[in-house]
Symmetry: C2
Subunit: 99 residues, 2 copies
DNA sequence: TACCTATTTAGCTAGGTCGCTAAGTGATGC
DNA sequence: GCATCACTTAGCGACCTAGCTAAATAGGTA
């Protein structure tokens, strides 16, 4: 494995890692139905707002989400809808798993 | 979020987490070209065999790989080729990222 | 100005992950 | 049996992550 190849895999891994958390998957699912502000997401998630805010910043810095401040609120939305296709394969894995 | 929904996301997260490492992405890429034994993979990766073996067991227990022992060697192969589609979207993310 | 609301950042602890070396397992050969 | 080869498991230290509370920031209102 060359250094350049390895660097490429590290960048990919960072993006995938951003998706590798149940709360962040929930957020992505929620935003697939339209933009939401932090408060709206927090209301639907069993965690405090600072925790949700941090999850959002992980997804944003990975390039999965983008944010827009309007007045007091910050709205988040999916930047790359294709991440959703992604889940179909994961579901296939789930159902095919013996255990 | 209901308890059942949350459990579903946790299962998904566990599978995605298995892919969220540069070495494991490399392994998946390598196995997309055919089965390999642990030694062959170790030769192509900058890590010791026990480390590679552990990465393989993470992918196997997530259902991404399956293994088969033949003589002294253990061969691994992709169990769900669709994980590869997955990477196209990740690449789109990479190239679209400002930084 | 002061105050309130929405969100982020800082600082902490608990728990998880990654790599290593050393030891264990299991099949093959002498 | 004993040695060897391919691999896995155990145990350790260094590092990272996820949640919390408390404090900081920034916009809106009076």
């Amino acid at each position: 494995m060359t250094a350049a190849t390895q660097a490429g895999y590290k960048t990919q891994a960072r993006i995938i890692k951003a998706l590798a958390h149940s709360t962040r998957l929930f957020i992505v699912g929620e935003l697939s139905r339209g933009e939401r502000c932090v408060r709206e997401l927090t209301d639907r998630i069993d965690a405090k707002m600072p925790t949700v805010s941090r999850h959002l910043s992980v997804l944003r810095s990975a390039g999965v989400l983008e944010d827009e401040k309007r007045g007091l609120q910050v709205f988040y939305r999916l930047r790359v809808p294709c991440v959703l296709n992604f889940f179909k394969c994961i579901e296939a894995l789930q159902t095919n798993n013996g255990k």
